[in-house]
Symmetry: C2
Subunit: 178 residues, 2 copies
DNA sequence: GGAATTAAAGACCATTTGGTCTATATATCA
DNA sequence: TGATATATAGACCAAATGGTCTTTAATTCC
């Protein structure tokens, strides 16, 4: 997973994968079939990680606003410094392969939907608790947040400065939270 | 430019470029040096197009809020349907090459700064005209908008539905405009 | 210990990659 | 028309690509 993450699909060559998996050529093909299948497994794993992380951050037993703060703080972290420069396997794959690989399309599309649903759920709990600013509607606000964090990852590739990311996140949240 | 735009740097092979430019191998190398230089020229052109488009949309002689609406409408358009699926050369390049190609880093970093500056300028004019919601600060709001639109491009790769994009943009603008 | 299974190393393959070079055709200009 | 410059087509190149296969080593099981 890590190799694809750092370099992208096309830029990752077989030797890179062999080095990373410490497998021989034969064993790698016996275990995973081919490069594409291995990539799909990596992507699945990456997505599963992201989703479980969100489930922790946005746990229904926590204060929803705290959860959203934690969720966004995670993105600040992942778009700062070396993490930022490394980028995001999901966004990179979306830009590199979406529209040309049906399987990838499915994975990524469903991930964005799942993420949006989780954020929307947290937002509606926040709304029920009277913590949302007037006129904020959870579902569209969730879509805004999803776009925003993915955009952060893009901008974070070239300008991964923690303080401005954090300030930007705070400013955004400020428009939604009472 | 169009070939790189549709397929990305690594996925674009020499034959693709020959077909697109209608040049022979020899002529292409005589004219552009190599694949990398040609790519850089494409990227420059793409960026120049984007910047002049923004200069029109956010023209200081127009109402700043109208300008911002036009600017965002452009992104709705570019992230919907076939346009959305095609994606964005800039975002794709950021994810594919940033951090591995100094020239690309420079181009993209300066583009984001330029875009942010233009948006910030429009926002501060809007603020001066009393059109901004309380507590909105132009520079951080500009950063938010830049991240948001770039995120739209990412999400638009797999879910390029115009109505939801438009609704999301409207909902976001609603948090900033009085 | 010895047979059988498993995995590692890497030779090997066809194809494709980016890039060069030569031979031919086309256009330019005196 | 005839000499010269220009651009074409495409042969050609070494290197790298993803993928297979055989040979050798290590492990497992009886």
């Amino acid at each position: 997973m890590n190799v694809f993450w750092s370099r992208g699909y096309h830029a990752t060559a077989l030797p890179d994968l062999l080095r990373a998996t410490k497998l021989s050529r034969g064993s790698l093909y016996a275990a995973f079939g081919d490069k594409h299948s291995l990539f799909l497994r990596s992507l699945d794993r990456y997505i599963a990680n992201a989703l479980t992380r969100m489930d922790i951050e946005l746990d229904p037993r926590r204060e929803p606003v705290d959860g959203l703060r934690a969720y966004l703080a995670g993105y600040v972290d992942r778009t700062s410094g070396a993490n930022g420069r490394r980028g995001c396997l999901l966004v990179a794959t979306a830009m590199e392969l979406a529209g040309q690989d049906a399987e990838v399309d499915r994975c990524i599309g469903s991930f964005f939907k799942a993420m949006e649903a989780r954020v929307a759920h947290a937002l509606s709990r926040a709304k029920a608790a009277g913590k949302l600013a007037d006129g904020v509607e959870p579902s569209s606000a969730a879509r805004i947040l999803v776009c925003f964090v993915e955009g952060l990852r893009v901008v974070g590739k070239t300008a991964p400065t923690r303080i401005t990311s954090q300030a930007t996140v705070d400013a955004l949240l400020d428009r939604f939270i009472r």
